[in-house]
């Protein structure tokens, strides 16, 4: 491990000031991404500013039915918090289906949104990677890319955004609150995750030293029956091959309102706006779900090993929508339980 300096700060202003003043520094929250990246020499930071003492751990209901989640609240605490479970089950499920119990006890909400991609070439300093070293090329496009994205990709980068939580937040139009060197900011979640374009090293709009202080989820009555479906090779402890966060409001047999976002298949947590548009006002049938899924995946591009994700994403959308409307033909068919997937730990 590289020689590092480390300090602990107790208030937001000092945290922001300390990191802003030193281009080689970064924040340290749970460390489950940062320490790993230090160990493989991918993080350039030489100085870690520990923010765990900042008073940003709260999970609070907001008047009107929204919630405020402090940036340092732990994944496990947020997943179990009553307001989250009651009002936004998709958030709770997305968290519980991520990582492992030990990691969730350490990992913070701010860190989760800012976690780095899992592309193996990004984490291998001997490989070419535009995200790690702009201009060196993308090894994944012609390499091992089974886990990579099919939406929002460019020739510069095809890495999948790894966060499950972010998918739910994108579906719910959350807002990210920050404190920058120049004062506070509010980012609509859609503006928070940047498509790779030709600058895949830029993943978010934050200035150096800008601290995420909280996430706010606005009220959304239909989200109380929302869900998160995660499809992967093994039952636990794996990032998504495809996932969907969905909330639907039916009016008789018609989709009156729908929120849909995808994970595991795109370079950013992907709000499925095309599908939402197709679905709104359509009959709540498998046929219209499939049509919406086709529409959403129309621009998708496969890169070889990940070609299957285009079809998998379509089917994941259809399945998630069927689960959301309580399709009686679905069964909890696994040892661990699919529909009760949030109960078994990860």
């Amino acid at each position: 491990m590289r020689p590092l300096s480390y300090s602990r700060v107790a208030d937001v202003a000092t945290a922001v000031g300390t990191v802003a003043a030193d281009p080689d520094s970064t924040f340290l929250a749970g460390g489950t991404t940062e320490v790993d990246l230090q160990r493989v020499y991918v993080s350039p930071a030489r100085r870690l500013v520990d923010i765990n003492d900042l008073p940003l751990h709260q999970i609070e209901e907001l008047p009107g039915g929204g919630v405020h989640i402090g940036a340092l609240a732990r994944m496990s605490d947020v997943a179990q918090a009553l307001p989250i479970r009651r009002r936004f089950p998709m958030i709770s499920q997305a968290l519980l289906l991520g990582a492992s119990p030990q990691l969730r006890n350490m990992a913070s909400i701010g860190g989760n949104l800012l976690q780095r991609v899992r592309c193996g070439y990004f984490r291998d300093v001997a490989a070419r990677c535009n995200k790690r070293e702009p201009g060196t090329g993308c090894s994944a496009i012609h390499g091992i890319n089974r886990g990579h994205a099919v939406l929002g990709t460019t020739e510069y980068c095809i890495a999948t955004h790894p966060s499950d939580l972010a998918v739910a937040l994108v579906a719910l139009d959350a807002v990210v609150l920050t404190q920058g060197p120049d004062g506070p900011h509010r980012y609509a979640i859609d503006e928070f995750f940047l498509l790779p374009g030709d600058t895949p090293h830029r993943e978010h709009p934050l200035a150096h030293g800008e601290l995420v202080v909280a996430v706010e989820v606005p009220p959304n009555p239909m989200a109380s029956r929302s869900l998160y479906l995660k499809v992967r090779d093994r039952e636990s402890y794996e990032f998504a091959l495809a996932s969907a966060a969905v909330a639907v409001r039916l009016d008789g047999g018609t989709v009156a309102e729908v929120r849909l976002a995808l994970g595991g298949v795109a370079t950013v947590p992907w709000r499925a706006r095309r599908a939402e548009a197709t679905l709104t006002g359509a009959p709540a049938t498998v046929e219209s779900f499939a049509a919406a899924a086709r529409e959403e995946l129309a621009p998708a591009v496969g890169y070889g090993m990940n070609d299957f994700k285009i079809e998998l994403a379509r089917r994941t959308i259809v399945r998630a929508l069927r689960m959301a409307i309580g399709d009686p033909d679905l069964r909890d068919g696994t040892a661990a339980g699919l529909l009760s997937q949030d109960d078994h730990g990860s």
Partner: protein, 747 residues
Amino acid sequence: MSPAIGAALDRVDGRAKVTGAARYSGEIPLPGLAYAVLLGAQVPSGRIIGIDRQAAMTADGVIAVLTHLDLPRVAARPRLFPSLAGLTAHGQSYFPMQDDVVHYAGQPVAIVVADTLERAEHAATLVRVSYAETPALTLLDQGREQAYEPEKIFGGLVPGRNPTRGDPEAALRDAEVTLDLTYRFAVNHQNPLEPSTTTAVWDDVDRLTLYDSTQGPTATQLSVAELLGLPPVNVRVVSHYVGGSFGSKALIWPHVTLAALAARQVGRPVRLALSRDQMFHSCGHREEQEQRIRIGADRNGRLTALTHDKIGLTSHFDDWAETSLESAAITYACPNYAGGYRLVRGNIITPTFTRGPGEATGMFALESAMDELAYAVGVDPLELRLRNHADTDPETGKPWSSKGLRECYQRGAELIGWADRDPTPGVRRDGQWLVGTGMATAAYPVAAPISPQRARARMYGDGSAVVEAGISEFGTGALTAMTQVAADALGLPVTRVRFVGGTTDLPNIAAAVGSAGAGATSAAVHLACVQLRDQLIRHAVADQGSPLHGADPADVVVRDGRMCRRDAPQVGETYAELLDRNHMPDVEAIGTWTPVLPMASDHAMHTFGAQFAEVAVDADLGRIRVRRLVGVFAPGRVLNRKTAHSQLLGGMLWGLSQALLEATRMDPHTGRYANENLADYLVATNADVPDVVVETIEVPDQVVNPLGVKGVGEIGIVGTSAAIANAVYHATGRRIRTLPITLEALL
């Protein structure tokens, strides 16, 4: 006193392990310890044209940066040889850091030694190595036209062609039903919990002590001594606890000797632990391979011809193929058979033993093909196997030393509910889930070491005993099982016996590999304890002061530490009374077991079992979830029901993992594996594990070894993947002939 053997005794080392008191090779505290970190080649082929170590040398805490320019030449060219033989047991016939040539990515090119691990790791990143790269071959598909037929494989122990029976080509031409099927297998890595670790300490008289994580302390001793040009007496190996191996520590790989060389170079004890990613290119793997099976049968499903051919990727140094054909060749009665290996040389480390090495892939191919035959002829898959049951060894005609396969089939079928099975594929629905069941035969050879196996038993004056043999405990439960074996032979309760292993100071035992550890060690332990017991009985009957004086030794039995007359149990005395009266502080005996080589035996020796699986496949999403596994095995005598069942259960879960998850992906552009970590190399988690039923059927075996122990280490994995793949077919109607079976194959 009921026998200790077979009881579900808790692990004698369980408390030490869960409290952390058990010390592994990387945890031995030593004064002045320095830490070595290996730097591996980043290219798969080429020459080193420069090594800039300036920055590393001046980094904090660095003691040395060693390259091929600094290290002495090793005293011998290593030769790959399986450790079961009890001799030197190098993992490959190549030792790195002797010149500037790079043969495979990850090959050690430099060693950095520093005062802490973190500083050594950091300094290793500061070493700049430049290479003149040459074209590399890292995938089977890149070299098929260069394939050759090796004369021998497996370190020269196995012929490149299996013995042919009859005329398979003619039989295929005449067969009423024929199948021609090809199976592909991803590279697999063993991935034990503990990465290989060696701590090397030289004393001032040029003697070396190695704390090494190994399946065979003696194998480490002899192999390292050979490379260093030292007599074996100058190398002592200590290996009490090993955190799993699964084949990765069965042979001796270069890092062990490199640790010793580094320690000598810096004049301090040195610890060298491979990192997780280094475990993927430092101690072998299950090779990328393809197997082709052709079957000829009559309309009733009786086999008339079987051919089994395998092509695999090996290194530039060795003709290695895991032995995929041998068990498959003798599983069924089939008069016409041929099978052989072909190899392609590539820029990889020599592949090695990996969990059921050979059987796990070869039996996948055979048992998948048998399932296809069952459907082709319209015979129930289990009935098909019974019709082809091999009553004697089809290769030699010898009788089996013991078998038990029919009983395994029958019990497994009961447990899974096979009788009610509708064979039609793709018709059972449970909501969106398609449900199916499948089965397969498991077969694994009963191997034995070539060399004599020894143990020592010593009884103290109070009648307690210590029994010793130079094995390491790598998680199998050997210490516990051997305690039970010793207790029964001495007629003592297990609480009065302590079994000790873990160093080369103790009587010699070959490496515990090929599921042969329990058989070999129990033989030596049993014989040592019987010797000791008989010695004590002889003493008693000759002792005028003993109530047993004058008795026929053959009429004396021992129970609960007391020798007595069989016909008059009230006449006798305890071991302690005898020893005390004669002022004897202790009595010792050595037991030696000389194994019979399979070729020399009148019997064929193999372990069999039956595997059953029930799976559910998500009809839309392709996800496969194993709902039930049932494994029934006939492993001869079971020494400890609990640890044996744990071994078998673990084996079945390896099989699940092999079937659905495990694959190391080579990127041909970089010539390196792209997923050298446990987040991207998937192994089954608890959440993937279904309801698993393990049962054993004890078949008496008078041939294999004194206690009739056939071994449980690997039979559990054999056939699991085929049972799962066959269940996937039954569920979906889709035949998948490539492992692992991932969801994209079923979309």
